[in-house]
Amino acid sequence: MYRTFYEGMDTLAPMLALLLFGLTFVAIVLRTLVFTRARDVEAVAQLPLIDQSPEARHE
């Protein structure tokens, strides 16, 4: 049944494109969460929390 479905269909390019997309996704995840030094960028994440304005003291 499935053979009939795929018969005559060029599946190579779509499969390679999907594989490439998957590899790129994994590479970006690894690069983002594993192979980047946190201290290079995470200090900037504190910016919203160092607000010293008076209304911030209502917290």
């Binding site: 919203p48 607000d51 008076p54």
Partner: protein
């Protein structure tokens, strides 16, 4: 180096919050009114100004630009000042921005119910208001970028990147989609036509959702969620990837609104693929938000602000999963034009935008008035009313959409349609329209509870402006140089990767694979070099651009333009007057053009499509599939995006003129159970016949091949064509003058889909309506 005390301008934040809450209530109320008309058509009280098709654009514009727009400006003004440690550059520009925007909203509230519309969804406002929007947006942009230039904090926090992307992309979208030629002060025609117009419109329409309803709210999430949770965002590195992936990919996804239409297939496929890929960055952002609460989940139970933020993010996750799902062509074939799409957009608007707004208001208002929230219990009640209301709304719309989609596709054992009459499907989903009305009502009650709670909070405090003491360092050098910005390895690696991706389209499979492998190898080498340089203490490329707002803005603009140019340019440049079938559209007669303008004025496109998709059920129901060349003189296109009634592309000649006359005056007389309102005013109002000359002249400027003789005799030709219809009606006992609007409307409807030699001079059919009438 010296210290300076800075007082923030929080009065502008208070003003925008007030406007957002006020117009939010109005937008929701209008939404509830038109939802009631889906069930009880009499709820327009017999007046044209309160009719669904005219008020629906007002509802969408009020919610998008008045409610979310004002909320977004409040959040941007508050957080930008704190993140830059600087007061807004100009109080005057802030004030012009506020009052200018409110005037635009008032102009929309007056003009849309009057039927002054371009008919392009979420861009319905006529050209003078378009110009005003451009001017006010420029004022906002100058004030924002001027503030960035004067900032006392060297880093640009991620929220500011999202604001930058919003400001420049909305400007590009608005300008391109508003290319139009004015006829009068109140009427213009789109410079694009047919398929081109459809692509430009949905490139704009989809990205209005992306860059007006999503990116600024993500910026607000990245600022206010850490504030409310009292902890930094889960992963700042993830936010970098989230930002660049989102702004690059979003712009490509517009064509998923046009799947199976007459749009070129390559553009449809591109839109579908990018929509699927968009799932990854969208969920990256959602997870980054939710994981920020790691270790603080216990507080979500107690804190209404966090409750709204968490639910808002969850709805964002749902909507951004559902969006890619609906973009798959086979899913779209069922869901498109049905209420499933309405459920999807309301999950985003009510859940994501509405709840993020509520969370921000509950956090901000007590601080802006130096007090605490008046009632946490009322905020909790608002939360539950809103959540249950949204659930009722979207579940009802899912059921209605899937049900209607399946009914419209259903065929019997003999291959014939099981429900040939469209109105059968409308009657079947009526109970779901009642549930939707109740769900929307609950949401509005919750919103009113919030207004009461915020008013009580304000009454217990007094307006206070934030202050900060900053240390000003003179001549602080920026890391890196402009040359480093332009020669950065990540920049060129991205260009290379895009080239390799394009290889899959333009080169053979193996060349493309070779290119992809080469890019991966280069990436690995770059990674190793980068690691070594970091160990030596050199500034990364990202650090270099992150300190330069102008370089950052230019790179963001390029990321956005790549997708826009790649999709729009080939379709706009192509000479669309060359038909594939050898037959193209014949220009409308003067009277048909007048009728077409009435069709757009009344907002018929809100409930009726003019696009028959190449699907068996559609060609059986409506006739031959629509082709691109049949719309080349349609300024603007009228394909529609939702079918509350049947498609009209080939309705011309299907029924006699008397049928149309009766149907427009009393839809239930011809279609028992229809929820369409009566358009009785068309029978009493007259067309502006002399204006036809100017209309044809303008169309000629837009490329419609009218002859000088056709233009000169436009007025007389209307009388001739109108008289044929009036005589036909008179023969059947209906007395109506040739210049009444209903005659022009009938002329236009009888023309639709009849571009193959059948013209008005040939007598319109006078036979009885065929079986299975809508």
């Amino acid at each position: 180096m010296h210290k300076q005390r800075i007082e923030y301008d929080d009065s502008i934040v208070r003003k925008f919050i007030f406007a957002s809450v006020l117009f939010g209530a109005v937008g929701l109320l209008v939404g509830l009114l038109i939802a009631s008309q889906m069930v009880w058509f009499q709820m327009n009280f017999g007046t044209q100004y309160l009719t669904f098709s005219r008020l629906r654009p007002l509802h969408t514009n009020a919610v998008i630009f008045a409610f979310v727009g004002n909320m977004m400006f409040a959040g941007v003004y508050y957080s930008t000042q704190r993140l830059t440690r600087q007061r807004m550059a100009s109080d005057l520009l802030s004030s012009i921005h506020f009052w200018g925007w409110q005037l635009i909203i008032v102009a929309a509230a007056i003009s849309l119910p009057m039927g002054l519309t371009t008919s392009k969804e979420y861009a319905e406002l006529e050209w003078p208001i378009d110009l005003a929007i451009t001017a006010i947006w420029v004022v906002f942009a100058i004030n924002f970028f001027w503030t960035l230039a004067r900032r006392n904090e060297k880093h640009l926090y991620v929220a500011l990147w999202f604001y930058i992307a919003t400001i420049i992309t909305v400007a590009v979208l608005h300008i391109v989609n508003s290319f139009e030629l004015p006829l009068t002060f109140f009427k213009s025609y789109s410079a694009f036509s047919g398929t081109q117009d459809a692509l430009v419109q949905w490139w704009y329409g989809h990205n209005a959702v992306a860059f007006f309803l999503t990116t600024p709210i993500l910026g607000i999430m990245y600022y206010f969620l850490p504030k409310a949770a009292q902890r930094p965002v889960y992963s700042y590195r993830l936010s970098i990837v989230h930002f660049w992936a989102l702004v690059f990919m979003y712009i490509w996804a517009g064509p998923h609104h046009l799947l199976y239409t007459a749009l070129p297939d390559w553009a449809q496929s591109l839109g579908m693929v990018f929509s699927l890929m968009l799932w990854a960055p969208s969920w990256g952002g959602m997870l980054n938000g939710l994981l920020t609460l790691k270790g603080a989940w216990g507080r979500v139970r107690e804190d209404p602000v966090l409750k709204f933020f968490v639910a808002g993010l969850t709805f964002y996750g749902m909507a951004t999963f559902e969006g890619p799902l609906l973009s798959i062509k086979s899913v779209s074939s069922l869901a498109h034009y049905t209420d499933w799409i309405i459920g999807h957009v309301h999950g985003g608007a009510l859940g994501w935008n509405g709840f993020m707004a509520a969370g921000m208001f509950y956090w901000l208002v007590p601080r802006l008035y130096g007090t605490t929230l008046y009632s946490k219990k009322a905020a909790d009640a608002h939360f539950w009313l809103g959540t249950i209301g949204i659930a009722a709304y979207i579940i009802a719309m899912w059921v209605a959409g899937v049900n209607q989609g399946l009914m419209l596709k259903a065929v019997g054992p003999d291959g014939a349609l099981m429900y040939p009459s469209f109105v059968e499907t409308v009657i079947a989903i009526r109970p779901m329209y009642i549930v939707r009305f109740l769900g929307g009502g609950m949401y509005l009650i919750g919103f009113c509870l919030m207004i009461w709670n915020l008013a009580k909070t304000i009454a217990t405090g007094r307006a206070v402006n934030g202050e900060v003491e900053v240390v000003i360092e003179e001549h602080q050098p920026l890391p890196g140089s402009l040359v480093q910005v332009l020669t950065g390895r990540p920049l060129w690696f991205t260009v290379l990767a895009l080239g390799a991706a394009a290889g899959f389209i333009f080169a053979s499979t193996w060349v493309a694979v070779g290119l992809a492998v080469a890019v991966l190898v280069i990436g690995e080498v770059a990674f190793v070099i980068n690691k070594r340089e970091r160990a030596q203490g050199k500034a990364s490329w990202f650090e270099v651009i992150e300190h330069r707002p102008m370089a950052f803005t230019v790179l963001t603009l390029i990321s956005v333009l790549i997708g826009g140019v790649a999709e729009l340019l080939p379709t706009i440049l192509i000479k669309q007057a060359v038909p594939t079938s050898g037959q193209s559209q014949t220009p409308y007669t003067a009277l048909e053009l007048q009728g077409r303008d009435l069709y757009t004025r009344e907002g018929c496109y809100v409930c009726h499509s003019q696009m028959i998709r190449p699907l068996t059920a559609e060609t059986q129901r409506y006739g031959e599939a629509s082709r691109s060349e049949e719309f080349i003189y349609d300024h603007p296109f009228q394909w529609g995006s939702k079918r509350t009634g049947p498609d009209l592309h080939r309705v011309g000649g299907k029924y006699p003129s008397l049928w149309h006359y009766t149907h427009l005056l009393d839809p239930r007389a011809t279609s028992q159970g229809s929820n369409m309102p009566s358009y009785s005013w068309l029978a009493t109002q007259k067309i502006n016949a002399p204006l036809a000359v100017d209309k044809l002249r303008l169309m000629l400027k837009l490329g419609v091949p009218y002859t000088q003789a056709q233009i000169d005799t436009a007025e007389a030709s209307q009388r001739a064509q109108g008289s044929v219809i009036a005589t036909d009606l008179a023969a059947q006992g209906v007395v109506v003058a040739w210049d009444h609007e209903i005659v022009a409307m009938i002329a236009y409807l009888q023309r639709l889909g009849r571009d193959h030699g059948v013209r008005f001079s040939e007598t319109a059919p006078t036979a009885q309506a065929p079986a299975g009438a809508p």
